[in-house]
């Protein structure tokens, strides 16, 4: 199976082989990078007493954002609303906010011609229950209610950051246990993705909205944040990042069309393999979390996001408006460079080279590395073998870069690379062997095998 993008010169930001058009004439991946704005509430509780204030905050912040977007003449704007847990447990609350946001972007489109769309991302609350019911029960039902109501409330794109497999991956990350991580991603998460995304794609097709994509946030980003705090090796986080690709790929194999989620740092691989437009977050998301890959992630992005920002007052304006301005200027620069192919490639390569040599997590996001490993991934027939290949080739690419002096790593990081390469070599060819092994360990108590289509 060939990659959707096989040539490095075709792998640039703003252009994807399968652009998505949605909302008020917003084209994503069709030649321009679009700012994608996200926001969250300040420190406050969410309950019946505070709900009127919650509504007012969203009304105010979206108005301010749209005013700034119009003033800065952005080529378009994608607004993402990601629910807070209380708004998914009570989906009517989440859907009320969708209505508020949709009405605002409608108004600005009508009045100012602002091209826009609204992405709705209910958060995955299935892990409220432990061990989690993944395919039924009150939490799954609440999420489904949010999916079903999305289109009527005014959403244009449905996305999620699903957490299937997190039960075992959290521990695997804490203990730096790559074998358990591969099991969690390939044998649990990929199966849950297949179930969940078939369901979401069916709802989206029936209600006529775009099935966007999923992020391996609970896995890759948890590892990234812990590595940033020097708790776990960056090497581990880098391998986990690439190992999440087959899991996230499942959504697109069963009908999701993109744009992928902003915190899906595995996006370049997804774009190379499927041709979907991708959302990315980098330096402009420092308002939500710090990063070591702030520039390189822009290399092949199609929307450019701030991840999330609290509604708090800064000197110039409220923080979401400030974020809108950051994104608008970043996109203006990328789109100016992108007016010629040479400019787009030069801008991409500057973004890449400014980060790649400092951190293995950046190295594996190099477009050339992503193309090579993506091919190795799709050469394999199953999510398990793809995940094993992803980890193996990521380790090979990193080792090669270290050996050639192109990637600087500390002694203890290098020690971990050797350790993990040995662990990958010991992974069995037969996934069932790994499943049986894991089901015989104490981690089996953390999940219900049948909820993942496995037999105990």
């Amino acid at each position: 199976m060939p990659l959707a993008i096989s040539k490095l010169d075709d792998f640039i930001c703003g252009h994807s082989p399968h652009p998505v058009t949605c909302g008020h004439g917003l084209e994503i991946g069709a030649g321009k990078v679009i700012p994608e704005i996200n926001f969250t509430l300040p420190a406050m509780g969410i309950d019946a007493a505070t709900w009127p204030e919650v509504r007012q905050i969203y009304e105010k912040l979206i108005d301010d954002i749209c005013v700034r977007a119009v003033d800065l003449e952005v080529p378009g704007i994608l607004v993402e609303f990601e629910t807070l847990p209380a708004m998914t447990v009570a989906p009517r609350w989440g859907l009320e906010i969708v209505e508020i946001l949709a009405q605002a972007i409608d108004k600005f489109h009508e009045k100012h011609g602002l091209k826009s769309a609204l992405r709705f991302t209910p958060n995955d609350i299935r892990d409220y229950m432990a061990p989690s019911k993944m395919r039924s029960g009150p939490y799954f039902e609440a999420m489904s209610e949010a999916f079903e109501g999305a289109a009527a409330a005014g959403a244009d794109i449905l996305s999620i950051e699903s957490t299937g497999g997190k039960e075992v991956c959290d521990d695997a990350i804490r203990f730096g246990n790559l074998r358990q991580m591969i099991f969690g991603l390939a044998s649990l998460a990929a199966r849950d993705m297949d179930f969940l995304w078939r369901h979401m794609v069916e709802v989206c097709r029936r209600t006529n909205i775009v099935p966007g994509g999923d992020a391996a946030c609970a896995f890759g980003n948890t590892a990234m944040i812990l590595a940033d705090q020097k708790f776990i090796p960056k090497m581990f986080a880098a391998l986990v990042r690439v190992a999440t690709v087959p899991r996230s790929l499942v959504a697109y194999q069963v009908g999701a069309t993109g744009p992928s989620k902003d915190c899906s740092y595995e996006g370049p691989y997804l774009k190379a393999i499927t041709g979907i437009p991708i959302a990315m977050e980098g330096r402009a998301s420092a308002c939500a979390h710090l990063t070591h890959v702030g520039n390189i992630v822009q290399a092949v992005c199609d929307t450019w996001s701030n991840e999330s920002v609290q509604y708090v007052r800064l000197l110039s304006a409220y923080a979401p408006t400030v974020s809108m301005e950051h994104l608008a200027y970043d996109c203006r620069l990328m789109n100016t460079a992108g007016q010629t192919r040479e400019g787009a490639i030069l801008m991409r390569d500057w973004a890449v080279e400014s980060d790649a040599g400092f951190d293995p997590q950046a190295w594996v996001l190099r477009p050339d590395v992503a193309l090579r490993i993506s091919q190795k991934i799709i050469d394999q027939p199953t999510p398990y073998l793809q995940t094993r290949a992803a980890a193996f080739w990521a380790a090979e690419e990193i080792a090669d870069a270290v050996q050639r002096g192109r990637l600087a790593v500390s002694k203890r990081e290098d020690r971990w690379l050797s350790k993990m390469r040995a662990e990958i070599d010991e992974l069995p060819d037969d996934e069932n062997e790994l499943i049986e092994e894991m089901l015989a360990t104490p981690i089996a108590a953390k999940f219900i095998p049948a909820e993942y289509g496995l037999t105990a």
Partner: protein
């Protein structure tokens, strides 16, 4: 016993299997359990802590050592009741109501256990009443609470207020943490301490019970 040096190394290497086998051997040889703990296991964990502080170890290595120590300690625990050896301290910990995030809290649990604390983990989405019940039942010196979201952070204050209203505030020290939480916020809501991350949590806990000077 020279085997105790091997137990020290097994804990340092995070080797559960060896740590368990060597502890069984020490028990069979009638070694004093308090001496095994104080003379071998706790020094091994101190060395692990030193290697972590020197950035030679990562957290996974420290957790594997803590796991090896815990496995060995479980074998010695029945013998300790008679020897009067107490844990470093007792902690009840949980992620507050409405919040599902627990990886940071779980790291704190592992590190406290590695430092010899007896930890009761109430899990995620813990309502105030469960903290109150646990104070009565487990008699901890410290309550630990975490929140990752700005909208669940206020539940820390709600929980502290509930503990005060139940008349239990004087019985415990309260330590809080989580991405949106700050030292200022901790002061503002009446917590006794704040930990910026899991490794600092052990130091803060020891300070709270007077084992280390702030």
């Amino acid at each position: 016993m020279s085997e105790l040096k091997k137990l020290y190394d097994a804990i340092l290497d995070g080797n559960v299997k060896s740590a368990v086998a060597l502890t069984k051997q020490a028990i069979a040889e009638k070694c004093d359990p308090a001496e095994v703990i104080n003379g071998t296991m706790i020094p091994a964990m101190s060395e692990v802590g030193r290697l972590y502080e020197k950035e030679e170890y990562f957290v996974p290595e420290m957790l594997l050592s803590a796991r090896a120590m815990k496995s060995a300690l479980e074998l010695l625990r029945p013998l300790l009741a008679n020897s009067g050896v107490e844990p470093t301290g007792r902690v009840v910990i949980g992620t507050v109501a409405g919040d599902l995030h627990d990886i940071g809290k779980n790291l704190v649990v592992s590190m406290l256990e590695g430092a010899g604390f007896e930890v009761t983990d109430l899990g995620i989405d813990v309502p105030p009443q469960r903290f109150i019940d646990a104070i009565a039942e487990k008699k901890p010196q410290i309550i630990g609470m975490s929140a990752l979201l700005t909208v669940t952070m206020p539940a820390i204050k709600t929980t502290i207020d509930a503990i005060s209203a139940a008349g239990l505030r004087d019985r415990v020290k309260i330590m809080i943490g989580g991405a949106p939480v700050t030292a200022e916020y901790a002061k503002q809501i009446g917590a006794d301490g704040y930990s910026v991350n899991a490794s600092v949590a052990v130091t803060v806990a020891k300070q709270m019970i007077g084992l280390e000077v702030a």
